[in-house]
């Protein structure tokens, strides 16, 4: 039987005093996939990512990561995944070295493991020159790379990426996407969300379109484009979600 990185079954969720966002949602993301989750603003992408990472709790249904239920109280499953949030999630007063030391320790790594892994990441992401300077003085692109480095310090089997390249220049974007592909080639499952659809075409090998809490399309990019007879992901996105601006 195929091992799923994520298995969502019969998930029901709504925010307090709001109508139901997800109703009996089912979704399976296979291990090793580069999975893209797309949809208009307010479609439920970030909420779904927060549910999958345990940031939001739910009462009905189940979410399993590699066969383990996501559970806020039992955090052992949290070792299995990493999160790269859209907001910068580090301490700007600290240097990259200090940030990785702290977050590495919180991931359960030893001092030696942190040092070794940090050195690798600084080399791969070209942060060695600035590793001892406070992050608050960095450019947007450099901050994105620090944000990513912290998310992968513990070499997670599954990596959630929420708009990991927003606000960066083309060179940095390519650098980040190349690194993510490299990670995936070593077995890390990627769950990625972004509004940059050309980047998604380059990175993702499986795509889900979500609108109003429902998955309206789910397949490989090639199959989706062929089924809906669209030349690219952006055209497919507009065909399935409409041209009207959404921000509910």
């Amino acid at each position: 039987m195929e091992q799923h990185a994520i298995q969502i079954s019969q998930l029901n969720f709504h925010y307090k005093d709001q109508t139901k966002l997800f109703s009996d949602l089912d979704l399976a993301i296979g291990e090793g996939e580069r999975f893209g989750l797309f949809g208009p603003n307010g479609a439920g992408k970030t909420t779904l990512m927060h549910l999958m990472t345990g940031l939001l709790s739910f009462k009905e249904g189940s979410i399993q990561l590699f066969g383990n239920s996501i559970n806020l109280k039992n955090k052992t499953v949290n070792k299995l995944f990493g999160l790269v949030p859209q907001d910068f999630s580090f301490y700007p007063e600290l240097t990259p070295v200090e940030n990785l030391e702290f977050f590495g320790a919180w991931c359960g790594l030893t001092s030696n493991q942190i040092q070794k892994r940090s050195a690798e990441l600084f080399t791969i992401l070209h942060l060695t020159q600035v590793k001892n300077k406070p992050v608050k003085n960095f450019s947007g692109g450099m901050k994105r790379k620090v944000n990513l480095a912290i998310g992968v310090i513990h070499e997670p089997r599954l990596l959630f990426l929420d708009e990991p390249t927003v606000g960066v220049d083309v060179q940095t974007r390519h650098e980040i996407v190349d690194y993510l592909k490299q990670l995936n080639s070593k077995g890390t499952t990627l769950v990625y969300t972004s509004h940059q659809l050309n980047e998604a075409e380059e990175l993702c090998n499986k795509i889900a379109l979500i609108d109003d809490g429902k998955i309206i399309a789910l397949d490989t990019l090639d199959n989706l484009l062929a089924t809906h007879q669209q030349p690219d992901l952006e055209s497919l996105f507009i065909q399935l979600t409409g041209k009207a601006y959404k921000n509910s």
Partner: protein, 425 residues
Amino acid sequence: MKLLATIKKDMLVLVRDRWGLILMFAMPVVLVITVTNIQSSTFDVVGKNRIGLLVCNKDTGSLSGEFIHALDTAGMFNLSLIDRNANNKQFSNAMHAKDIVIGVVIDPSFSQQVSAKAKNISGKALTSFGLEGDTVNQFPQSKDYFSLYYNPLIPQSLKLSVRGALNSAVQMIQSKEVLKDLYFSINEKPLPDSLQQQMLSNDIGMAEIPLSSNNEKVILNATQHNVPAWTIFAMFFVVISLAASIVREKTSGSFIRLKTLPTSYSIALLSKQITYLIVTFLQAAVIFTIGIYLFPLIDLPALHLPHDIAGLVLVTLVCGWCAVSYALCIGIFAHTQEQANAFGSVSIVILSILGGLMIPSFIMPGSFKSLMAISPLHWCLQAYYGLFLEGGRLKDISINIFSLLLITLALQAIAVFALKRKKLI
């Protein structure tokens, strides 16, 4: 490993926040120096810092001169005299110009009234002894001896002290006149100066003994009072930095990541408590050091540490832990830094007033005295005063430490309850 890494992170964030450090260390030092300077003047009011008193003597008799001399030698006033022809407006203007808050205008009938009253009393006394006294002067006592002008901003206690001193001076002159009359009536010769001095001597035997727990010699001055009090205030003022730090972390992107990592958020809060407990201890060490070494250089009394140094360390740690626990609660409940800063600072000022840091607790009305028990700053102050002012030892202040620990544990319980409710631990 996780806790050590978190403490290191918190320390680094703290030392790189220059304004936060200034708020926590420099501000209390400035505060303690300023307040001790001001309070030192109050302590020395009978010594070098006398109360300014403007006097306008409209009386031409000799007794008003004696009255002024008595005031001058009382040791309480620094007298300034103004021309006898000055009117009310000129007198008020002179008070403003000389920055004097209390003034006395001696009535033109002062000597006549004092003399008449003295003759009246001595006459009555002689009659009651069965002797024939002088004819009792029926001078009507309708006028005031003097008028007291004062700035409405002065405390009532100061006004009462001045009134007491003025009454005492008048009584002394009046008594002297009575005595002279009686002596002359009986002996038909004037009262000798030496006898007058002996009979009217104001010196009374009074031993002043400050309370001491263990018959230890205690030192009472503005430094011994203010340094412990404002050290407590400084320790509790970490609420601004610590609560803001918790709120900042809660509202920052890093908090989202922290919640997804395989570590409980209680580690982060434990680290903050340890870090800021070290900060409060350092604050106390810095302020005490300044009290010991810097104060004498700026003409303030040096701080004398209590004999029970272990007790001092323990009290400082317990006070610090209580302050940190209070800040922790505010940080957990506040949604924004503005909320934490505003509530934190205002509540500390209120608790310090209730605790007797700003107004001595013995002058508080009864209802407020019962409220003092809820202020942790009150128990901190009592514990410090027990060591610094009463020469006490740890056992003498155990009730204060116990009360502080109770409040601290209650604050910790509230914090844990709130964290569980918010699903943060």
